[in-house]
């Protein structure tokens, strides 16, 4: 111990050497040795029983079943996503009662004309392409209803 009350190097080492000695003395060495050996023995025999547990445990069966369900749902979702868009698209229904006379006439004409069902881009059609009847229908549809 130094004059100012601090520990000198030797004193510090002396205290350090004693540190934990009492606690260590209370450890039962023989009991520790037997316990360690028992645990090591257990671990040496453990792999076979662990494997058996792995394959027989209901927990693992449940997890496997859950994985199958999740994978199945994934396959179904993928199939739906890649289905032709025409099948998946919602069908819009129109009540004929809601249509005006002119619209009904136009509809009838389009059904009567071959190839009318084919989709036509508005860029492909000019007024000169329309027949007099179609022009009349178009004009009628543009006039405000009274």
């Amino acid at each position: 111990m130094n004059d100012d009350g601090t520990l000198d190097d030797a004193g510090l080492r002396q205290v350090a050497r004693r540190l934990g000695a009492r606690a260590a003395d209370r450890v039962d060495v023989e009991r520790t040795a037997q316990a360690v050996v028992a645990r090591l023995r257990e671990e040496r025999h453990e792999p076979s029983s662990r494997e058996a547990w792995l394959w027989t445990s209901p927990v693992w069966l449940k997890i496997a079943a859950a994985l199958v369900i999740v994978a199945g749902a994934g396959v179904v979702a993928r199939a739906v996503r890649h289905a032709p868009s025409g099948l998946a698209a919602p069908v819009e229904t129109v009540d004929l009662g809601d249509l005006s006379v002119a619209e009904l006439r136009e509809l009838l004409q389009s059904v009567e004309q071959p190839g009318a069902a084919e989709p036509v881009s508005w860029l492909d059609v000019g007024l000169e392409d329309l027949s007099p009847a179609e022009l009349r229908t178009l004009l009628a549809s543009l006039e405000p209803e009274t």
């Binding site: 050497r17 000695a21 450890v27 060495v29 360690v36 050996v37």
Partner: protein, 185 residues
């Protein structure tokens, strides 16, 4: 009747021989290694902050981990030194899990019945303070200090066990001593 011939003392097997025997399946070799190193390990662990109530468990866990990994022990340092560093790792993991502080209660120290009660109290107080201050040191400084001051190891040995250089170990030790002296005023 011929006089009995002096019995030559049978040298106890080295740690390396016991390790080899254990790897060959000899459980008693493992038990002997445990008997040989338990006290030193327990002192080191108590010094590095193992709660006394958990000391048995930490000691056992350290031996179990050491035996599991013994194939990786290449003799870079003594088996005991290697064991102490494993003990430090076990304790670190235990602290991380439990978040409990190290306590070697002063009152418990005073329950000892050996020696003069006043001297015992003074010694217990010094140990308690040292233990507390040690907990405030960085882990490497703490372990180097204990390996050097408590276990009496050389810097070469400490460096080999901790994967550092002897010079670095010396620096860690001196930093630890400086800090301990400051805190123990």
């Amino acid at each position: 009747m011929t006089p009995a011939e002096p019995v030559a003392a049978v040298p106890s097997p080295t740690d390396a021989a016991l390790i080899a025997a254990w790897q060959g399946g000899d459980e008693q070799a493992a038990a002997e290694l445990v008997r040989r190193h338990t006290r030193a390990l327990a002192r080191f662990l108590a010094g590095t902050g193992a709660p006394e109530a958990d000391l048995d468990d930490v000691v056992q866990e350290t031996f179990i981990r050491a035996f599991r990994a013994v194939a990786t022990f290449r003799g870079q340092c003594r088996f005991r030194t290697w064991l102490l560093t494993i003990g430090g790792n076990v304790l670190k993991d235990a602290h991380r899990r439990a978040k409990r502080a190290r306590v070697v209660p002063l009152a418990d120290e005073l329950r000892s019945t050996d020696g003069d009660p006043h001297e015992r109290a003074v010694a217990a107080e010094a140990e308690g303070r040292l233990g507390e201050v040690l907990q405030g040191l960085p882990r490497l400084q703490r372990e180097v200090f204990l390996l050097r001051a408590q276990q009496g190891l050389e810097y070469d040995e400490i460096a080999a066990a901790l994967g550092t250089t002897p010079g670095a170990a010396r620096v860690h030790y001196h930093h630890a001593v400086k800090r301990l002296k400051e805190c123990l005023k």
